[in-house]
Amino acid sequence: MIVLPLIGLLQRVSWSTLLSDLSAHDAFVALRLSLEVSLGALAIALVFGLPLAWILARHRFPGRALLRGLVTLPMVLPPVVGGIALLYAFGRRGLAGQVIYDLTGWRFVFNTSGAMLAAAFVSMPFLIVTAEASFRSMDRRGEEAAATLGASPAYRFRRVTLPAVAPALAAGAALSWARALGEFGATITFAGNLPGSTQTTPLLIYLDIESGHEATALALSLVLLLVSLGVLVGLRDRWLGNP
């Protein structure tokens, strides 16, 4: 069931016109924007996700299970619902969005930052889950030894903890980035659709299929497919659990 749709896609691609399809103006812009948005989403995920993962892994507090559930919610939430929720939070009349707009005039909707926010919302759980797991399961003796030798918490985190979880963290980051790259529902609902600012590759693929530009849509789909495959093959068995 997984292989058949992929084969179906591959056999419809127009191989001879592939390069010209991809260098069609909108296609190139969408690919470049996708790179920008997915990397921005990863940055947001790292900044907000790592501390969350640390807190979940290393501290006990009432409501920890609930927090963990909330943090993983975007993984199972339909992306369009995520987009709608983002509108109510960060839209021009949203809970936080209105405050930000009134104070600074900044808008997320119809802005590349909105596309990054939407992508971060759906992909951050992948990073948090992997990071929390590795924080929890790593061998603490190195940290303890460093503590007895007088290292500060910040030093311990930087020089002992991070290197120990780096491989698993890299895997989580790669997964999170790949998920951000493929985001569609939350982006089109929350950020909008405009070439150059919010029209990421999945949005362009959707619109091209809708308007009969099948060749470009297939070429772009192939690119995303190969990138996703590359990430997953590169991760090999890392995401199945720490060796």
Binding site: G91, F110, R136, R179, L181, F184, Y206, E210, S211
Partner: protein
């Protein structure tokens, strides 16, 4: 810990399936067999029976839905379902074999694609419409006409290229040499309207029927008749239909029957 690898595995599976090309509208493939309804078509006075799947432009949502109630009362044996979307989306679906019985488009350009592909019977015009600017209730940005859409500080969204409303709007703006930079290109009139009703956009261009259907959620700003493009809605029976009698009856009703009455009540202009 047993849950961790499972969680991460599920996460990875989710990532791999979601990271692939984004979800678009599904196009169920259906074998395009010719109609096999036995017997000749009954006269339009006889009740319509069977299943009928009508693919219609998004702007027809309100009118067609209210027509459904009327049709259901007169034709209890009829199982009528609708698929509303931008006309270009519906064309792609039908080209890919989606099981439509009738196609109602918001412009002739989209209908002609199916005519050229030999997928529909000869279309007929069943309605006309006019463009209108939709703004927030009370018109806080004081938009008085198309030219105001180009004002800095006004956030405008339009429909995507290929969507009739978007193409009509762009043609009118171009003819008036008004350069509007939309902040988003929406997939149909209803999505564009939602951007205004939710407060994200200040204005969009839709049909008068959409503004009427939105009621107090938007305020309409008229586009003068002298600038209105010719907006004609064609409707046709899809050749691959399995219920030709019902499909033809629906088309006839849209031109001059119960469906036409519902269209006029919603603000559509009758076909000339």
């Amino acid at each position: 810990m047993r849950s961790r690898p499972t969680t991460v595995l599920l996460a990875a599976l989710a990532a791999s399936s979601l990271a692939l090309a984004g979800c678009g509208s599904s196009s169920p493939t259906a074998s395009s067999t010719t109609s096999t309804t036995a017997g000749s078509s009954p006269s339009t006075a006889a009740p319509i029976t069977g299943s009928l799947d009508v693919f219609a432009a998004a702007s027809l949502t309100g009118a067609f839905n209210s027509a459904k109630t009327t049709l259901a009362r007169a034709n209890p044996g009829l199982n009528l379902t609708y698929n509303f979307a931008g006309s270009n989306t519906l064309v792609t679906q039908i080209q890919q074999g989606a099981p439509a019985d009738v196609f109602a488009s918001a412009d002739t350009k989209n209908m002609d694609k199916l005519v050229a592909a030999g997928l529909v019977d000869t279309p007929v015009t069943f309605a006309r419409n006019k463009l209108e600017i939709a703004v927030a209730p009370g018109n806080p940005k004081h938009i008085t006409g198309l030219a105001d859409l180009a004002k800095p500080g006004v956030t405008v969204v339009l429909e995507a290229p290929g969507v009739p409303a978007g193409d009509y709007a762009r043609a009118v703006l171009a003819s008036q040499h008004i350069t509007v930079r939309p902040k988003s290109l929406e997939t149909d009139v209803k999505s564009a309207l939602v951007k205004v009703t939710s407060g994200e956009a200040d204005a969009t261009v839709v049909y008068v029927t959409d503004v009427a259907a939105a009621g107090s959620a938007v305020t309409g700003v008229a586009v003068p008749d002298s600038l209105q493009p010719t907006i004609t809605y064609p409707i046709a029976v899809v050749k691959a239909t399995k219920n030709h009698a019902a499909a033809q009856a629906f088309v006839d009703s849209a031109v001059s029957g119960a469906v036409q009455k519902a269209l006029e009540a919603a603000g559509f202009l009758p076909p000339q």
